[in-house]
């Protein structure tokens, strides 16, 4: 799975959670969009958890394998992340080609 694929999945899951929580996409989401862990973050703590679980399911389906993404992320320190930095972390955790 390429980094572009991961970014695409991150944005798709982010939009899905935002739709559920009524969070508008303004400005448009992009790699610099702060996801979690800062005052400017798009998602609150529950939203972040739902987003990560949904992202793991999407990546599992795409990879046809258990990525254990959430477990791996929570094993490490999950701090402030943007769409881009999270995509990098995901790429390093589950492997793939840039």
């Amino acid at each position: 799975m390429s980094r572009e694929d991961i970014v695409r999945n991150v944005l798709k899951c982010l939009r899905s959670i935002c739709a559920m929580k009524g969070i508008p996409e303004n400005p448009p989401f992009q790699e610099a969009t702060p996801l979690i862990g800062s005052d400017a973050a798009v998602l609150d703590s529950l939203g972040a958890v739902m987003f990560l679980v949904q992202l793991e399911e999407a990546l599992n389906a795409a990879n046809d394998a258990e990525t254990l993404l959430v477990q791996r992320l929570f094993t490490e320190d999950l701090q402030a992340e943007t769409v881009g930095t999270l995509s990098d972390r995901v790429l390093s955790l589950i492997g793939g080609s840039r």
Binding site: S45, M50, E56
Partner: protein, 540 residues
């Protein structure tokens, strides 16, 4: 908080925020504003509600707990009932257990087994709550089975104390909103159907009724027959069927009358327009004939082009997407949320036959020289009853659905109606109507408030099915009789305009003979006899 939104409180021993999110941001009607009670504080939240402190803040309360959090069913049920006294509606969500919680397999359904105990707990609490008119039960098992194996999310539980996946909460939010719609009497009641490849397989005008695929030892025919059976069941709960089909009328009716596997016959349809005209106009004609609003209609058609035509021409009509796959027809019908209702009354069960009787009445009307002669020929009878627990379900339905002949268009649920009528000097009467063609059931309601030497008509509403037959005058006459008994000198009525009740104002201005006091106020001196229609017999 916006006053137009239904305000909800969610009480739970798990993190129920996802349900609040779906309720708040789902675009389906009604608009709601849900807030979550403090996490895990089920008993304190119910006690606070029972104290009445939060009485004015919430229209609805949803209580959804895990079964592990319940110590005593009776105490829990009593707490729900106490809380419900201070909110409009309280919803209890049934308990469920995850599919992976097998316990000891078959032992779980034996005496003392966990699965059997859970069933008993659900039945026990539902029975305990069933006598409460403003407590409703939502079935979580339907949402969980729809979400499948992913319904329970161990991951979400450990990370955020959310036991279910988003799909479960989404289904719950939709069912909750449908329930609110049903309580508010905003469910739809007319299904307009296409015929070819919707009600049966094939084009009847081309292949003849004998060659239609319907019933028999044929999976496709069986699917169409099952679809008809599901529609037939809906008619037994008050949903009315009609046909709008581009077809040759004689050929189509012949199929309906003669095909041996037809489940729905001519008498199951309240009206039909089978011709080559625009279906949108045909649907408008059908609603005019049945005296129904377009917002009461659901249109089912296998043709995407016809569906789009109706959507654009008649936006008030609900036009669900319809599968190309006939094997999914019945499932698609059963999944629709348009027909939810709080209870099924005798009037609901008889509605289809009432419309058929109406057709017979209309036919006979043409044979008379005057409307008066026709009315006399109907042998109408009316019985008048005080509001009671026995008739409140239908009364509330009428109260919340009647738009046209409605003086004030108040909206009250069953409990609120009974509570209002129980107050000093408040009275509510209901009117049952029948004629030689059949029983219309409970079709009129009169609310009175007697004080200061006057009787004020607070509620005056009549089903559109019996409008224009003298019942309007008979109900006013009943109000005046009651005022006379109470010893007051005057009956007053104040019309409250809405977008739909102009017929009521027209009647008051032109036919009631009440004095127009200006500003939509009308009155009648009790000392004057009121001309009661002679063609209606009032049964005591």
């Amino acid at each position: 908080m916006s006053s137009s939104k239904t305000r909800c409180l969610l009480v739970s021993d798990f993190n129920i925020q996802p349900l609040a999110d779906f309720i708040n941001h789902d675009e389906t009607e009604p608009a709601c504003e849900a807030v979550v009670a403090p996490f895990g504080q089920v008993t304190p939240s119910l006690l606070e509600l029972a104290s009445g402190d939060s009485q004015s803040r919430y229209d609805a309360v949803i209580v959804w707990t895990r079964v592990e959090g319940i110590d005593d069913i009776e105490n829990f049920g009593a707490a729900l009932i106490a809380a419900a006294r201070h909110v409009k509606h309280l919803f209890f969500v049934t308990w469920a257990r995850p599919y992976f919680q097998r316990d000891l397999g078959i032992a779980s359904m034996r005496s003392g087994g966990s699965a059997l105990n859970l069933m008993r707990m659900n039945v026990g609490v539902c029975e305990h709550l069933s006598r409460q008119q403003n407590i409703f039960v939502l079935d979580s098992n339907a949402w969980i089975s729809a979400a499948g194996a992913k319904a329970w999310s161990s991951k979400m539980w450990y990370l955020s104390k959310v036991p279910f996946s988003s799909e479960v909460f989404q289904m719950a939010a939709r069912d909750f909103k449908s329930a609110i719609q049903a309580i508010q009497g905003r469910n739809r009641k007319l299904i307009v159907l296409d015929l070819d490849d919707t009600l049966w397989g094939g084009i009847v005008g081309e292949i003849g009724w004998e060659a239609l695929r319907l019933g028999g030892h044929d999976p496709i025919g069986e699917a169409f027959a099952d679809f008809q059976r599901a529609l037939k069941v809906l008619t037994e709960s008050g949903i009315v069927l009609a046909i709008a089909s581009k077809n040759d009328e004689a050929a189509a009716l012949e199929a309906i009358d003669k095909h041996p596997e037809m489940v729905l016959r001519r008498s199951d349809f309240a009206a039909w327009r089978i011709n080559w005209f625009d279906k949108a106009q045909n649907i408008v004609d059908i609603t005019n004939e049945l005296n129904l609003d377009l917002s009461a209609v659901v249109y089912l058609d296998d043709s995407p082009a016809e569906r789009n035509r109706i959507r654009s021409a008649l936006p008030a009509v609900a036009v669900p997407e319809w599968p190309q796959d006939v094997f999914l027809y019945t499932q698609s019908l059963l999944e629709l949320r348009y027909f939810d209702k709080v209870s099924v009354t005798d009037e609901d069960r008889l509605r289809s036959s009432m419309y058929v009787a109406d057709r017979e009445r209309s036919k006979t009307k043409q044979a008379f020289q005057s409307v008066e002669d026709w009315l006399k020929s109907l042998d109408m009878e009316v019985s008048i009853e005080a509001l009671s627990k026995a008739n409140v379900a239908r009364a509330a339905q009428l109260f919340n659905k009647t738009n046209q002949m409605n003086l004030a268009t108040r909206r009250l649920n069953e409990k609120e109606l009974l509570d209002w009528a129980a107050e000093d000097q408040h009275e509510i009467y209901v009117f049952r109507v029948s004629d030689k063609f059949g029983d219309y059931g409970l079709t009129g309601l009169l609310g009175l408030k007697v004080d200061d030497g006057r009787a004020l008509i607070t509620d005056y509403l009549l089903s559109c099915r019996v409008m224009g037959r003298g019942l309007e005058q008979l109900m006013l006459s009943a109000a005046i009789d009651r005022a006379r008994c109470a010893g007051v000198s005057e009956v007053r009525a104040k019309y409250v305009p809405t977008s739909k009740n102009a017929p009521c104002l027209s009647f008051l201005l032109n036919q009631s003979q009440f004095q127009n006091d200006g500003e939509h106020r009308f009155k009648w001196p009790v000392s004057d006899p009121y001309p009661c229609p002679a063609h209606i017999v009032v049964k005591k």
